[in-house]
């Protein structure tokens, strides 16, 4: 029981990183109806930026700075590669983001080098006692930061003018335009927010084990998360991210004992299995809205 709870807390910690990334995916999807495959590159950029900035400013100041930096990069990408494609099929734009991802990742890799870069976080692998449980501090830090960010985001969407504009544009772009909302600004803002979230996720994905060239695959696990939660549901993204994190953590701890025939490292691909199972039952995810099709 104690082991199980510790496993779940580790899963929630990792899951909150996936949740941040998934939120970025969903925010871009709601605004532009496109899945941005550039998120992995932005996450990697965030992690690397933190690892360089932390040497100067320390970890706590480096995370928001890196977030702003990556948000700037995301703004540039949106303006240069995505905005000219307004009105084109979603698949075409998604493939463009795939191309952007490849390019940005090569550039970022040049800043990583061959070795693992530490992000300079204050936790490392240090543990803390929670009553009878012994868990790593960084899981708790990730959970707390994610909870705070999610609360701020939801308040932003609920209570500010820009949040209202984003919700309106997500609901119906033409109607929003007719009401005087700049849909272009909504696109830019959604990419900037997604970039910021990806950078924070990158920083926390790098706590403890550090950031290396292959770290970008972590961000791909947010894809099962958004599919599980439903592509257009912010709450679903958070829930999906946490579910994926916990499932992965459970497989890590128990699959070797109970199902060794699944092979080593099955935990790494377990999110995709969860995704397939959920999709077989609910093709629009757990919280996604069923599309109404008109011809």
């Amino acid at each position: 029981m104690k082991g199980l709870l510790e496993t779940v807390i580790r899963g929630l910690g990792n899951g909150s990183v996936y949740a941040l990334l998934a939120l970025g995916f969903v925010i871009i999807y709601k605004a532009t109806r496109v899945i941005s495959f550039a998120q992995p590159a932005l996450m990697l950029a965030g992690g690397v930026a933190v690892s360089h900035l932390a040497e100067v400013t320390g970890f706590y100041a480096a995370v928001p700075l890196a977030g702003l930096l990556v948000a700037g990069v995301a703004l540039g990408v949106e303006r240069a590669a995505i905005r000219p494609m307004v009105g084109r099929p979603a698949f075409v734009v998604a493939i463009i983001t795939l191309g952007v991802d490849v390019v940005v990742r090569v550039v970022v890799n040049a800043f990583i080098g061959r070795d693992v870069r530490q992000v300079g976080d204050p936790w490392g692998f240090a543990r803390v006692e929670l009553g009878p449980l012994v868990v790593q501090q960084r899981w708790l830090a990730m959970l707390a930061v994610t909870a705070a960010l999610v609360a701020v985001l939801f308040a932003f969407f609920r209570h500010t003018r820009h949040g209202l504009a984003m919700r309106a544009a997500a609901h119906d772009q033409e109607a929003a335009l007719a009401q005087g909302i700049s849909v272009g600004a909504v696109f830019a803002l959604s990419w900037a927010i997604a970039g910021f979230l990806a950078a924070v996720a990158g920083a926390f994905a790098g706590t403890g084990q550090g950031i290396e060239q292959s770290s970008w695959v972590i961000a791909l696990k947010a894809l099962p998360a958004i599919i599980v939660g439903g592509l257009d549901s912010l709450g679903g993204a958070v829930a999906g991210g946490l579910v994926v994190g916990v499932v992965e953590s459970l497989f890590q701890s128990y699959q070797g004992e109970y199902a060794p025939w699944l092979g080593q490292n099955f935990a790494v691909v377990s999110p995709y299995v969860v995704m397939l199972v959920v999709l077989l039952v609910r093709p629009y995810g757990l919280f996604g809205t069923r599309e109404v099709e008109r011809v």
């Binding site: 496109v34 590669a81 979603a90 191309g99 092979g263 995709y272 299995v273």
Partner: protein, 388 residues
């Protein structure tokens, strides 16, 4: 005044239904539907294709073995690209899982053709006419198994699910060491043998590379003609209807599930054959090579070549494959670019950036790809010296 119900449809003999006589000096005037649907419908197209095939046949005499090997690989990849174009270009079902089907084909071929009792699984059936169709069929079976998921989903949901397929497949192939030899170790690839005659050694027909090149060329022509025929048939028109609007297609009587399953099956058949042939060229299969990157490369070939064109898929595959040797010569020309992988910028980074940039640039400026560029050039010279 006759009773309108007694009107009969007049028997008009001059509405042609079959192949019809061409009008001299009017190569673009079509007088029958069959003419409009013909494989090579103008004399210029017939001549151009003949010249291209003749050129391709002449290459083994002219080029060095090393270049022939690159081209053989490109032809094998072109078969896979045609397959992806069938499901993504013609039928409009976005698949990022093509690498998985290629892997299924490569391992089926390798296992069937390897001698039994070796380090990895083998059945000793080295005849190419056994393992090549078997590789295709195994991949097609995998495609048909995935298709039920695909018929429930559409658009980007489908893209993400097929992406998951690549990761699951990679895991299975890395763990199934009896079949694949395990990551980093790999296994020997399928051996091509035609009626007892080994095609992968130097022989009376020429060197290994020359023989393999001719084999790949023959198979590519075969697969390309088959794909063109599929595209201009009833099935091809059903695919196009599904691509343009699947609900509208269902309304006019296209059975969606049957045709989506068929599209995945045929596409995976091509991918499987491409996998078997591809490994034959390199002589070696490693489970890590069938990754998301390979799927992205296939997508790049289809997009750069031209969506829903067979000739475009071939052009795209050749373009992507020739990009590699071209970037390898960069260090000699541009002093900034290094051939050393530990330095930046090195050729591998330049190559990867080029893939990404080319995808973006083509989609932004010429969404019809290389095929679209060709159409532009042709249209320009057709109406030359007028610009309209």
């Amino acid at each position: 005044m006759t009773d309108p119900r007694s009107w009969t449809i007049p028997n008009v003999p001059d509405i042609p239904t079959g192949r019809f006589r061409r009008v001299r000096g009017r190569p673009l005037l079509r007088t029958s539907y069959a003419q409009d649907m013909a494989l090579l419908d103008t004399p210029a197209e017939r001549l151009g294709t003949a010249v291209l095939v003749a050129l391709a046949l002449a290459l083994p005499v002219v080029l060095a073995d090393r270049s022939l090997e690159v081209l053989s690989g490109a032809y094998a990849l072109a078969i896979g690209a045609i397959g992806l174009n069938i499901v993504t270009g013609y039928a409009g079902q976005v698949s990022l899982g093509h690498a998985f089907f290629v892997a299924v084909g490569a391992y089926t071929a390798a296992a069937l053709s390897a001698p039994p009792g070796g380090r990895t699984l083998g059945f000793g059936l080295a005849e190419i006419w056994i393992w090549l169709p078997a590789a295709g069929l195994a991949a097609a079976a995998a495609g048909v198994l995935v298709a039920p998921l695909a018929t429930r989903l559409r658009g980007l949901y489908l893209a993400v699910v097929t992406l998951g397929l690549v990761f699951l497949g990679e895991h299975v192939f890395k763990e199934w060491k009896a079949l694949t030899g395990g990551p980093g170790v790999g296994r020997e690839a399928a051996v091509p043998r035609l009626l007892g005659y080994p095609l992968d050694r130097d022989g009376p027909l020429g060197t290994r590379e020359q023989v393999l090149y001719l084999l790949m060329l023959a198979l590519l022509v075969l697969f390309a003609v088959a794909a063109r025929n599929l595209a201009r048939s009833r099935v091809g028109r059903a695919f196009a209807a599904i691509r343009d609007r699947d609900i509208a297609a269902a309304v006019i009587g296209v059975p969606l599930t049957r045709y989506k399953v068929l599209a995945f099956g045929v596409s995976s058949f091509y991918a499987g054959c491409a996998g078997g042939l591809l490994s034959t060229v390199s002589g070696y299969v490693e489970p890590g090579s069938f990754s998301l990157l390979m799927s992205v490369q296939f997508i790049a070939m289809v997009l750069i070549g031209g969506v829903a064109t067979v000739s475009g898929s071939i052009a795209g595959a050749l373009f992507i494959c020739l990009l590699q040797p071209l970037t390898r010569t960069l260090p000699a020309l541009v002093p900034l670019v290094s051939a050393d992988t530990t330095r930046t910028p090195n050729v591998f980074q330049v190559e990867t950036v080029l893939y990404g940039l080319l995808i973006v640039l083509f989609l932004v400026f010429e969404p019809r790809g290389l095929a679209g560029l060709w159409i532009r050039v042709r249209a320009y010279w057709k109406s030359w010296p007028f610009s309209y």
